[in-house]
Each structure stands twice: as C-alpha cells, then as structure tokens.
C-alpha cells in the first residue's frame, strides 16, 4: 500500500515505471490482458493445474503397481489412468510448459521488445488452450478414455469404449493454441528485435525457441489432420485406418509419429535453451561454441522431422525403411551431443556460482544424457526389437521429458523467478529441492530400464511377480520425487509474501531482461534498449572472482 501511495506521488512521465503486476488489479485486467508477461502468468497457473491432474494419475498408477495383481484399480481403470496421465502431461503440460510460460515472459524482454508481435493473438492462444483443457477435464469427469496417449488404430477408432472422440477433439483444439504461439514467436523474433540485436547476438534461449516454433507450425497441423481422421472413422465409420473398412492401421502410426517425434523436440528444445542461459549465468562466462549450439537447435528441428519411423521397427514397416530411420536417428543425436559438450566446455575456467539454477542445469545434463543415450540404444534395430514397448522405452522418454524438460522448467522458474515476481526465494531450500528431485527421479525411473530389459511390457496393469521388487523401488522413488516437486510450491509461494525484494539483476547476468527492473514495467523497458555487444558478454578473464569483488 505504501508503495502504491508513493507511485501516485510521482510525476506523470514515470507512470510507465509501474510494474506489470501492479498495472491493474481487477479480474478484467488479468483475463483481458494483452501483456505477454501477464499471459505468461495465466499459462503458468494453468499448466501447474494440469501438472497436478497428470501427477495425480501418475500417483494412482505407481500405487497400483505396488502389487503384481494391481489391487487398487480394475484393468479398465488402470488403462484410463495411464491414458489420462499421458494425454494431460503431453498436450496440457509439457508442450506449453517452457515456451508458453518462461518463453512468453522472457522472449520479448531478451530481444528488447515491448511485447510479442501479436499480443491479442497471444491471449487468444491461452483461451484456446483453456477451452481444450476444459474439454479434456470433461472427458476425465465423464469416465475417461482407454487408448493410451498414442490413439493407435483400429483400437481407438473401432474397439475402445471411452470418450475417444471428445478427447481427440480436445487435443485438436489445443493444437491451434500451439500453432498461434509458434507464429507469434517466429514473427516476434524476426521483426521486433531491438536495434543492434543481430542474429549473431541472440541469446541461445531465443534460438531454441525459434527452432521449436518452426516445429509448432509445421508438425501440429499433421496431428490435427490425423486426429480428425480418427474422429471421422470412429463417429461416421469412414474407413481410413481400420482394415475391416479398407483402411491401413500403419498409416495412422506414420501420421501420428510424424507429429509426435518432432513433439519430443518441442519438449526438449526449449529446455536446452534454458540450460544455455543457466550455465553461462552460473559460470559467469561466454558460451563455448555459440554458433555450434545455435545451429544445433535448428539441426535438431530439421532432422527431427525425418526419424519418425524409429517408432515402427516391429510394426511391419519395410526392412529398408527401418534401416534408413535407424541411421537418421543416430544422426539426430549428434547436435544434442554437441550441446552437452559445449555446456561442459563453458564451465571450464568459469567463475561458477553453485546456486539452485546451476544444480537444476547439471541435473538436466545428467538426466538428458542418460535419456539421450538410451534413445540411441533404441535406435539400434536389433536392440529395439527386444525393448520396444517395454519399460525400457518408458524409462527412456521419462528421462527426456521429465528428467530433461521438467528439470529445466524448474531451473528456469528459479532462475527467472526474481524477474517475474520481484522476489527472492530461500536459496537453501531450493538447493535441497533440486537434489531431492534428482535423487527421486533416478530412484523412480532407473529401475524401469532394468524392468524393460528383463521383459516387462509397458501399459501392464497385472504383471508377473518377479518384477515386483523393482516396481516397489520405482514407486518409492515416485513418492520422493513428489516431495521434491512439492517443495518449490511452498518456498516460491512463501517468497511472494515474505521474500526479500529482488534487485534488477540478482545473478549478475548479461542479457537485456536483467537490465530492466524486477518485476519489469508494463512495457518492459523505460527506454528503448540498444544492443552493442554479443550475448554472454562476461569478462574473458576473471582477475578476481565475484565473491572477492
């Protein structure tokens, strides 16, 4: 209140300085806002909500798997639980997670813009996402769906009992939100860069979001078409995928993975952008191999479109197609490896602050490397034949999507939290949370690699008793992981009330977002920033480390 009184006493020219959080307090000022920062907050609250729903489904799954007979749920109930978990987590949490929250907030700040190129489109994007989310919630309340998140035909079109059509329509609608965000990011990055912000001066976070926006725009329409065809076959019996109607079930798999493999890169590219920022800021050092890291993002986006067939090595796809897809899948690992090596080299001769963002970043690197290399194993044809559709695959993609993306999301949230909220959180608790998450994650998912190699198929409600020990360890790890994920909810919310006020640049980082106040004013900058240096322009030598300075 006292601050507000002070503001009113200021001259009219400085009204611009009012932070975006205090530029209006009515519901209308939030729900009809076109400020990218407020829309980012709307997204943040929404995806956390969906994360909780998806997480609750995961908790039920892990509880149920404590016993081989699956005493908690029926077979049908279990199938609905893992379908719900996958659908909510992929489309309503992971895909919008970093781009629509951190990206929405930080991209204009990083490039020195007042907002995204199409502020009202940005708000529309959130509303479309919410409409889709409510339909998905209605499906949950109405009994759910039992196809898995992959909607394989003809199971989904002719045999499944659940609300398949409503679910695919929810995902179809959410796709428009994704496409609009992609268009908005691409135009913003092309047209709204501050004077002097050349392409070679773009932060790597921007490069990775540029790459992911290309995938948003090119891949999502394919998913939309595929899901419409599923709905058409299910509702009207139009034969596309069911052989009994003259269709081809493998056509569905080709179309679905043509979207869904690039979708994996939708989830991981923004995370890689986050890590480049966190590592350079913590090491207080220029990124090693800027152009290699930047171009690697684009290479991942492009090659990522050419590897979908590696999901189909045992599907009946032709021998030679499988060999080609296997080779391309080896190739797509190269740009990811380049990034990991460059992050490591960036730490060399740095001046490294070991705070929570760095711990999350290092956790990301470890888990992403494990997920990526097991992905390389899955690209090997003879290995995939054995571990395809087993827990090995489940562990692999959780290492990428949860160990990778969710860890990076938490890292990003901690790193930019002072900028977003203007408050500092408790650093000790944050470090503990980062370590609990890392340990909890590995205890949950490492046993699943072993389960898979030993022959435990995925999506099994009832399982052979010899797998019980590893399943129980995995469930225990999940409990620890839940504690780790819950911790930030407490100390971050606490910081909003009681946390010390954050300075404009608490990390001593480079980047335009740190030149404006925390939280930023409504139009981001009081003066148009002009860029005269490259990104990560930290001093090349460190005569005295920061602690001594």
């Amino acid at each position: 209140m006292s601050d507000a009184a002070l503001d009113m006493g200021k001259p009219a020219e400085e009204v611009e300085d009012i932070s975006y959080l205090r530029a209006g307090h009515s519901l209308r000022s939030w729900f009809l806002t076109t400020d990218h920062k407020r829309i980012a907050i709307l997204y943040l609250v929404s995806i956390v909500f969906f994360f909780l729903i998806g997480g609750a489904a995961a908790a039920m799954i892990r509880l149920d798997l404590l016993t081989p007979a699956g005493d908690l749920m029926t077979n049908e109930g279990y199938n609905r639980a893992f379908s719900l978990h996958g659908i909510i987590m992929v489309w309503f949490f992971l895909i919008p997670s970093i781009p629509n929250t951190i990206g929405n907030f930080i991209i204009p700040l990083m490039i020195g813009a007042r907002d995204l190129a199409f502020p009202r489109l940005n708000l529309l994007s959130w509303y479309i996402y919410i409409v889709a989310g409510f339909i998905a919630l209605a499906v949950v309340l109405g009994g759910g769906v039992d196809t898995g998140w992959t909607f394989y035909t003809p199971l989904s079109t002719m045999y499944a009992n659940g609300m398949v059509a409503a679910t695919v329509i929810a995902v179809f609608i959410s796709g428009f939100s994704t496409i609009l965000t992609g268009i908005n990011f691409i135009v913003t990055i092309h047209k709204l860069r501050a004077p002097g912000m050349t392409w070679s001066r773009l932060p790597l976070f921007i490069w990775s979001h540029y790459a992911v926006s290309i995938i948003f725009v090119l891949a999502t329409p394919v998913l939309a078409i595929t899901l419409l065809l599923v709905a058409a076959e299910r509702l009207f019996g139009i034969g596309v995928f069911d052989p009994a109607l003259g269709g081809d079930p493998l056509l569905f798999q080709h179309l679905f993975w043509f979207y869904s493999h690039p979708a994996v890169y939708i989830m991981v590219l923004p995370a890689m952008g986050v890590i480049s920022e966190l590592i350079t800021s913590a090491a207080h050092k220029r990124i090693f191999g800027y152009w290699f890291v930047a171009i690697a993002s684009i290479a991942i986006a492009v090659i990522g479109f050419l590897v979908w067939g590696h999901h189909m090595f045992v599907s009946g796809q032709s021998l030679y197609a499988s060999a080609v897809f296997s080779f391309l899948s080896v190739a797509v690992a190269v740009p990811s490896a380049i990034k990991v090596y460059n992050w490591t080299a960036t730490l060399y001769k740095g001046d490294i602050m070991i705070d929570a963002p760095l711990l999350f970043a290092l956790g990301f690197i470890g888990l992403f490397v494990a997920g990526g290399l097991t992905g390389l194993m899955l690209a090997m044809l003879a290995i995939d034949v054995h571990v395809h559709d087993t827990y090995f695959v489940v562990a692999h993609f959780h290492y990428i999507m949860v160990g990778g993306t969710v860890t990076a999301f938490f890292g990003a949230l901690h790193y930019w939290w002072p900028k977003i909220t203007g408050r500092l959180y408790n650093e000790t608790l944050a470090r503990i949370a980062a370590i609990v998450i890392l340990v909890g994650f590995n205890v949950t998912f490492f046993p699943q690699f072993m389960l898979g190699y030993e022959g435990m198929p995925r999506r099994y409600h009832v399982y052979p008793p010899e797998f019980q020990l590893l399943q129980v360890i995995s469930s225990a790890g999940a409990a620890l992981l839940a504690v780790g994920y819950a911790m930030p909810a407490f100390y971050l919310l606490w910081s909003l009330k009681k946390g010390p006020r954050a300075p404009a640049n608490p990390w001593g980082a480079t980047g335009l977002e740190w030149t404006t106040s925390s939280p930023p004013p409504k139009h981001n900058f009081t003066q148009q920033p002009v860029v005269v240096r490259g990104p990560y322009d930290y001093p090349l030598e460190h005569p005295a480390s920061r602690a001594n300075a």
Binding site: G70, A333, K349, P457
Partner: protein, 324 residues
C-alpha cells in the same frame, strides 16, 4: 522359472546371446563417452567455483577442431554399432527356407496357434528345440504384439495383414510370451508360454493332440473347407463358372486386371478371399463375393495352407478334388 529377483533375462536362443553382446558392447562405448564428460563437469564445478583461487586466464570461446572431433568421433563409433545391429535385424526378418511354419491368430485377449500337422492350441505354444520356427501371424481385431523376452524378439500382429517372425530356440524350457502392444482392457493378462521341447517330445505332443480330435493336417482341413464353404463350386475343375484355377498358383506371378503384377503369397490369397475386389486377376470379372463375414482367420489360414500345398511344384492335386 524363478519368481524371485533376477538381474538378467534368460537366453533361449543364439540370437538372444547376440543381442545381449550388442547391448553390452554398446553400453561399454556409452560409458567411455559419457564418464569423461560427467567427471569433467564435476572437476570444473569444483575447481572453478566462485571464491576459489584458480587460473581462469585465456578461456577460449570456440574451437572448430574440438567441435568437429567431438561430433564426428562418437558418430563414427555409433555407426559401427548401427551396422552390427542392422545386420542382426536383417537376419531376424529373413526366415531360413526350411523353417517350420506355425500360424498364429491373435484376438482380444488370446493367442491361437495352428500347427501344420494339425494340432491347435491357445496361449501356450509348443515348439521343438534347435529347429527354425516361423510364425505367420494375423489379428482378428486390433494390433497385438508377440513378445518372447527369452528370445529377445517381438513382432506386431496386424489385422488384415500377415506379419512373420522366426526363431530357433536352443534351450529346453518354458518361457513367458507376452502381448507388448496395448490392445484394450485385458492387455496385461494376454499372455502365454513358449514351451521348447526335445524333438521326440514335440512329436509325442503332436501325436497326442491329433488323438484328441485333430486328426487332419492344416492343409487337409483347408481342402475340406475348400469344398464345404463353396470354393470348389467356382474354382474346381468341374466348374462352369469362369474363375481362375488355383493349383500351381501359390508362389508364382499373377497379372492383375488393372495391369499390376504380384506374387501369389499368403497375403494375396488372404486378400483374395476376404477383399476379393482388391486384386482381381487379369481376364476375370470381379464376381467373387467376400468371405470376410463367413470365414474366421483360422479358416483362412487353413485354406492358404491347402492352396500352398497344391501350389507351384505340386500339380495333379486338383484332379482328386474334381473326383470328389
């Protein structure tokens, strides 16, 4: 089979040993590439942590040769494993000529098998040891996937399309066989056992099952169906209907009325029975009715076995049919 904890799945074929060797070798390479990175990260974070006195001079911002070498060397190493894994996979997809054929029909939520000698069974599959076995598989409803962990193999089973999988089990025993592709409510209990028997035991098992009512071979059952469901009415020698003769057909080329040509394999015969208008033989009108609602997949398999029997290299069988 022990129900306790076990670390490594049992190996019941030469292929299983090769896959284990491959993943073991790959694992070693992965550790060799990864461990230095993890160690370096730990060393750097420790040595260059803020406040610690360290030499931070002349930190480089880029090094093209370093970038190229850490991209190319791991890629080339991985390509070696790619060649190895692909060679193994090609073997897996090419059954040897002398393999014994067993038909598999999958449906929600069971496996049904038809042995060439006539025995039929559900969920459990009996096979002889040290003999190549080829499964010719089709689904009656959704996609399933046969997975035998002890053999390190799996293959999806598709509706309306034959897929094949082959193996030579070299170790006697009983091994789990599971469905790996999510197929609906009872997916997780769609299981069975692969029972690998000594040749004489397998012969005995076949004989006992014949005594139990399955007195005819699969092809003989097909021959009986060929007459009873009406195939011979048009395709038999005495028929006045203008329909293609079927002996000597299997395995040979077929010209189609739209100008395409294909080989008369299991899939072609299956489709000609179930979707007769899909591939109409050149010189014939599309007058054959579909049997999609008449015949079960097992019956189609029996008919295909019969047609294979009177296929290329076995002329003369047809007269016997005509005499019937």
């Amino acid at each position: 089979m022990s129900h306790g904890f076990f670390l490594w799945p049992v190996q019941a074929s030469h292929h299983a040993k090769e896959v284990d060797l491959l993943i073991g070798g790959f694992g070693v390479m992965v550790w060799l590439l990864t461990l230095p990175v993890f160690i370096l990260i730990a060393v750097f974070v420790f040595r260059y942590r803020t406040g610690r006195d360290a030499n931070r001079d002349h930190a480089s911002g880029s090094n093209v040769w370093l970038e190229v070498s850490w991209s190319i060397i791991p890629f080339l190493l991985t390509l070696g494993f790619f060649v190895w894994a692909t060679a193994l996979y090609f073997d897996l997809r090419r059954p040897p000529a002398g393999a014994m054929t067993i038909n598999l029909v999958a449906r929600q939520w069971m496996w049904k098998y038809q042995h060439g000698e006539g025995a039929r069974e559900i969920n459990d599959l009996h096979v002889p040891v040290n003999r190549p076995v080829k499964l010719v598989m089709i689904s009656q409803d959704v996609i399933h996937s046969v997975f035998v962990p002890a053999l390190r193999i799996k293959q999806d089973v598709l509706p309306g399309r034959y897929t094949t999988m082959w193996f030579t089990a070299d170790r006697l025993g009983i091994y789990p066989l599971r469905c790996a592709e999510f197929c609906g409510t009872d997916h997780s209990v769609m299981g069975g056992r692969l029972i690998v028997m000594a040749p004489q035991d397998y012969a005995g098992w076949l004989a006992r099952n014949r005594d139990g009512g399955e007195s005819e071979t699969l092809a003989a059952a097909g021959a009986r169906l060929f007459r009873s469901v009406g195939c011979s009415g048009c395709h038999g020698a005495a028929s006045t209907v203008h329909a293609p003769p079927l002996d000597g057909l299997y395995g040979g080329p077929v010209g189609l009325s739209d100008g395409r040509a294909l080989i008369a394999d299991d899939q072609y015969l299956h489709d000609s029975i179930m979707l007769p208008n899909k591939d109409v033989a050149a010189g014939y009108r599309p007058i054959m009715p579909t049997y999609a609602n008449v015949l079960a997949s097992e019956q189609v398999n029996a008919l295909v076995a019969y047609l294979k029997d009177i296929g290329a290299g076995k002329p003369g069988t047809r007269q016997e049919d005509g005499n019937e």
